[in-house]
């Protein structure tokens, strides 16, 4: 109740959360993977976040008790709630929602008061993930992030607005450089976007290099940006770092959307990077991970955290690096009035539509984790029933706010888990054999021991189907015991199954938008109950 909540929050104050670290010669502020979330939200962190090969058991591939132990976090504390998954519902009722762009604005302002000239950087996945951002083709987020004072950004889901819209925003609307050292024109193999931007702060030269999501044309529909090629391009990164140093940069920051493990490998391969601000894999870590002289910072997602990095620079070299992961507790940090007003303005045209109550939930709806979350299970159930299919497939996105048990499900909640530009809920037939090939292929994109062969994201979620998985096995043999849940029969490799899914990367995919399918299903149910998924069995490695 309220007493418990007050007690829990008593030790939390706005000043305490923001802190007052000694300002460095250069101060960098990082937000990433906001996914168009302007409001305080619930967001449950994963219970399972597997690392393979050399990164097994290393941050960020630890959850729950291991996570608390690694960082000395007390069970039931505010940071436990913010960073792990256990007792999420109970702790959530004590500590409240997190995020909100108006609270982030307050924090950014406070940091800039303490460290004038602090450089605010956005790691991308900013323009997608909500109903207003979908309706305005990212225009609301561009406006809000301009107001926040972002000084450079990189990208991933931005490109799913289509190349014409991206160009329009970059040329006419965006108030900062749109960086991507690894974005090339596919025809002539020449750089398509600015690779870096430079700052001078307190007499110190800083280069910020942008790195867009390397696997955009594979993980997202390449027909939406047909003339671009991406890739990790480690050699190109090395060239740009050298160019930055040759141009006098004393501090080199890479604003990256590679995903954590790719960045860890890149840091080992490319010399001369002081800080990598990581993104895409949505990890939040209270301390930097060191790879040689490079500090990897992970700032979470959905506006839950802001990272502040202070660098001391002497004789042209970075000395001490101080990092603070600031959790944005929405009930503790006061909204910035100007940003609050601007956010309301961008939401106003859609406010009634978003507020409509579609149903209720008895269960916590969340997505994050390597395998099915309850939000995904609900979407899969919607696909099975509304599209009359035997098996449902739902993509392993890491974005999507949680919904607390006992809460109304509004249309806004549904869009927070589904809003994107290729939402068609397709219906198709696939043999059991092909289904296994598809699932094995996705599994290899997640669990290949070489990070450069990983795309990030999580395993495709399945409905109507159970399987066992051994993530350490070879490509093509990780999955076994594929079973139709309705009959208990093994999947027949030669039989054809009716499959429903959404978010196909193929051009011309047909079907109703997934949000209509989910809304209809929830209306029919009234109150949804989604038990924890037990149909995917993980073989202990």
């Amino acid at each position: 109740g309220n007493w418990g909540r007050l007690a829990a929050q008593q030790s939390l104050t706005q000043d305490g959360l923001i802190g007052a670290p000694r300002a460095g010669d250069v101060t960098v502020v990082h937000v990433t993977d906001i996914h168009a979330q302007t409001q305080p939200i619930w967001f449950r962190e994963p219970s399972i976040n597997l690392g393979v090969g050399q990164v097994e058991g290393k941050p960020p591939h630890i959850t729950g008790p291991e996570f608390r132990a690694a960082y000395g976090i007390e069970q039931g504390s505010a940071l436990d709630y913010a960073l792990t998954y256990q007792d999420f519902v109970a702790l959530g009722r004590e500590y409240g929602r997190m995020g909100g762009l108006d609270r982030i604005a307050t924090v950014v302002r406070a940091i800039r008061d303490q460290a004038p000239g602090a450089i605010l950087l956005d790691g991308g996945d900013t323009w997608q993930g909500s109903l207003p951002s979908l309706r305005t083709n990212g225009g609301d987020m561009v406006r809000l992030f301009n107001a926040l004072g972002v000084e450079a950004m990189t990208s991933h889901w931005e490109f799913t607005l289509g190349i014409d819209r991206v160009t329009e925003i970059v040329e006419n609307e965006l108030g900062c450089p749109f960086l991507g050292a690894n974005i090339f024109d596919a025809m002539w193999d020449e750089p398509a976007y600015e690779p870096m931007t430079r700052f001078e702060r307190n007499g110190t030269q800083v280069a910020v290099i942008g790195q867009a999501f390397p696997y955009l044309p594979i993980a997202n529909p390449s027909w939406m940006f047909p003339d671009l090629s991406f890739g990790v391009r480690a050699e190109r990164m090395a060239e740009v770092v050298e160019e930055a140093r040759a141009g006098g940069a004393e501090v080199v920051v890479v604003l990256s959307h590679n995903g954590f493990d790719v960045d860890r490998k890149l840091a080992a391969e490319v010399p001369g990077i002081d800080v990598i601000l990581t993104g895409h894999t949505h990890d939040a870590l209270p301390e930097p991970v060191r790879v040689g002289d490079t500090h990897l910072i992970a700032s979470g997602s959905h506006g839950k955290f802001v990272s502040r990095v202070d660098l001391d620079v002497a004789d042209g070299r970075v000395g001490e690096v101080r990092h603070r992961l600031i959790p944005i507790f929405a009930d503790v940090i006061a909204p910035d009035p100007e940003m609050a007003a601007l956010v309301s303005e961008t939401r106003a045209p859609f406010a009634d539509e978003m507020a409509e109550v579609i149903g209720q939930t008895d269960s916590l709806l969340y997505r994050r984790g390597n395998f099915n979350g309850t939000w995904d299970d609900l979407i899969c159930q919607a696909l099975l029933t509304e599209r009359d299919a035997e098996i449902a497939l739902s993509p392993g996105f890491r974005w999507g706010a949680s919904v607390m048990p006992g809460q109304d499900i509004t249309r806004e909640d549904i869009f927070n888990a589904t809003a994107m530009s290729y939402p068609a809920a397709y219906r198709t037939e696939m043999t059991g054999d092909m289904l296994k090939i598809v699932l094995e292929d996705v599994a290899d994109n997640l669990f290949n021991p070489d990070p450069y062969y990983q795309q990030g994201g999580d395993m495709v979620r399945v409905g109507g189907l159970g399987y066992r998985i051994d993530i350490a096995a070879e490509q093509g043999s990780r999955l076994s015991d594929l079973t139709m849940l309705s009959t208990g029969e093994p999947i027949d490799p030669s039989r054809s199954y009716v499959i429903a899914g959404w978010a196909s990367v193929n051009e011309g995919t047909e079907g109703p938008p997934i949000w209509d399918v989910v809304e209809s299903h929830i209306r029919n149910q009234g109150t949804v109950s989604v038990p924890e998924n037990t149909t995917v069995a993980l073989k202990a490695g």
Partner: protein
Amino acid sequence: LGAAAAIFLPRIGWADATTDAIAEFTGGADLTEGGALKLTAPEIAENGNTVPIEVDAPGAEAILILATGNPNPDVGTFHFGPLSGAQMASTRIRLAGTQDVVAVAKMADGTFQRASQEVKVTIGGCGG
């Protein structure tokens, strides 16, 4: 995902054809691994129908490219003329599924070098 499966081609091995093609190029001479020859290809192909590759072998006379997992592994051969400024070239190739791309360089002294890289051709979809 879904309809994407229709364009997916499973991994097939054609080791004998690759061995034959190399033997034809080298006349059966020994191969050294690596050396001056560098083959660059993406870890994951953005599109299996157009995969960028680059070969670079200072001092080479010719470089043979093979796609070991294609029904026919032959891709092409670069012959460098007297006005070649560097014995390097880039092109774009078709790969019928995940496989090793192999390059074999014939050096000016008549020796041969080999390099290979695995390129993953995936169905795609999903993401963070």
